[in-house]
């Protein structure tokens, strides 16, 4: 190894060591409120960690519990589901149905031993860009402390 390559090698290793592990979070967002909220966070140029991968769905009522399960099976470090506040659903009642499903998904995850900190469900409206940015930041910090998800069947 020449001196030059050694220097390059060391520098890249140092850089890699310095670069902190970042979680990868799956976000499932309803189009009318939460996705618009995320959009607002963007257009207001609010900063939040680039840890979230967003899937846009027409309504939180469209969130099949399998989306959440699949997220964990595929090794996302956390899964977030966001929808319009109760009473504000674009389709009037989609989020009421969603609420029951999500409550039961939470119970199932508990039975299967998936740490509850890794799943987050919240109502975020189109005007809550701040809350969206805050939430991604909070969640990222929390998951960083927990470390990488060890899988559904480690």
């Amino acid at each position: 190894m020449t001196q030059e390559t050694a220097v390059i090698e060391n520098t890249t290793q140092e850089a890699a060591a310095k670069k902190e592990w970042q979680p990868t979070i799956l976000g499932i967002l309803c189009n009318w409120c939460s996705y618009a909220g995320a959009d607002l966070a963007g257009s207001a140029r609010l900063h939040y960690p680039e840890t979230i991968r967003i899937v846009r769905v027409p309504c939180s009522g469209r969130v099949d519990p399998m989306f959440v399960l699949k997220g964990f099976q595929k090794g996302f470090d956390a899964v977030i589901v966001l929808g319009c506040h109760p009473g504000d659903c674009h389709y009037a009642k989609g989020n009421y149905y969603a609420r029951r499903r999500i409550a039961l998904v939470k119970d199932l995850l508990k039975s299967l031993g998936i740490p509850e900190e890794r799943f987050h469900f919240e109502w975020v409206s189109a005007s809550e860009g701040n809350r969206f940015a805050e939430l991604v930041t909070e969640m990222t910090e929390k998951i960083k402390k927990l470390g990488p998800f060890e899988g559904v069947t480690p």
């Binding site: 029951r100 039975s111 919240e122 809550e128």
Partner: protein
């Protein structure tokens, strides 16, 4: 119980002779005296093939979506089987008027494999019957009486619904054993994930648990779909996790706790443990129990504005 067995045969015969019932589904003698097998009786003279004894384990409601679709079907049924039927009626898979239900009061049924651990050999068993003290096992070496908690199937140890909820004829008496258990829900194990990882690593993905479940009647199961491929064919613990976790969501609030999925599993995975926990969660949160004739739609097909809100209230 031969008394009730005779009455079942008479009722089945009458129903078939009457002509509007084309087939009577019930249990018949199995390959051994401690086993029974589902039978489909079409001729009145075959009605004497029907049996009723503590080995009548199968939940026969599983056959109804296919058989009772366009014709009237007679069915001999335990209270738990009837709860499955109520679910199927509520979910519009079968019509009540297409059923002729010979409902039975129940004293619980046995899992033949549990009998093997007692002080006689399974191959020597010649018959099973209920007595007031428990289960009478007749063997070639004499009779034994086992207490219910030693031999009944798990779900029967907690069952408090031993009378048929709906029926056309009711036969037999419900017997509630004194050693009924509170619950079968295991203490939340420290290492839930390790426990289920190990269980699912045994799963060969034969889908018998799905086939035997009366609530799993979908014409195309998500597990058989290629596009989207929710769960890959390979038999790994992780793919099995996806299959079972999804099935649990699909039967949430619909599982009546017959335990068939667990009984049928060739590798002994206690899938019904998870199903029971789901049912308990549904009951705790929504006060809803599957198979209740006073309910309308499945728990996930309805909502109330004042429902429990699982959302995190941040910001």
């Amino acid at each position: 119980m031969s008394d009730i067995e005779n009455k079942i045969q008479e009722e089945a015969k009458k129903a078939l002779e009457g002509g509007d019932v084309s087939v009577v589904i019930g249990w018949g003698a199995g390959s051994a005296p401690f086993k029974t097998t589902p039978v489909f009786i079409e001729k009145p003279e075959d009605a004497d093939k029907l049996v009723w004894n503590p080995a009548c384990v199968n939940n026969l409601a599983v056959y109804l979506p296919k058989l009772a679709n366009d014709k009237k079907v007679g069915i001999v049924a335990k209270p738990c089987d009837i709860r499955s039927m109520i679910g199927l009626i509520q979910e519009k898979q079968i019509k009540r008027e297409n059923l002729y239900i010979i409902g039975l009061g129940c004293a619980g049924v046995v899992d033949a494999f549990n009998l093997d651990s007692q002080d006689f050999h399974l191959q020597d068993v010649i018959g099973l019957d209920w007595t007031s003290d428990g289960l009478k096992v007749s063997t070639t070496n004499g009779d034994y009486t086992l207490s219910c908690s030693d031999c009944l199937r798990d779900m029967c140890l907690v069952c408090t619904k031993r009378e048929p909820a709906i029926f056309d004829v009711k036969l037999g008496e419900a017997v509630q054993p004194s050693d009924i258990r509170e619950s079968l829900i295991p203490e939340l194990a420290e290492e839930r994930k390790a426990y289920w990882s190990e269980q699912f690593s045994k799963c060969i993905r034969c889908y018998a648990c799905r086939q035997v479940c009366p609530a799993c009647y979908c014409k195309t199961c998500f597990a058989d779909r290629v596009e989207p491929k929710w769960t890959a064919k390979k038999a790994t613990a992780e793919e099995a996790w996806m299959f079972h976790a999804t099935r649990m969501m699909h039967i949430a609030g619909r599982c009546i706790g017959c335990g068939e999925c667990e009984r049928i599993c060739p590798v002994g995975i206690p899938v019904a443990e998870l199903a029971r926990e789901m049912a308990q969660a549904v009951k705790d949160t929504y006060g809803y129990e599957a198979g209740d004739p006073n309910q309308e739609s499945p728990v996930l097909g309805q909502y109330k504005e004042e429902d429990f809100d699982p959302a995190h209230h941040g910001g």
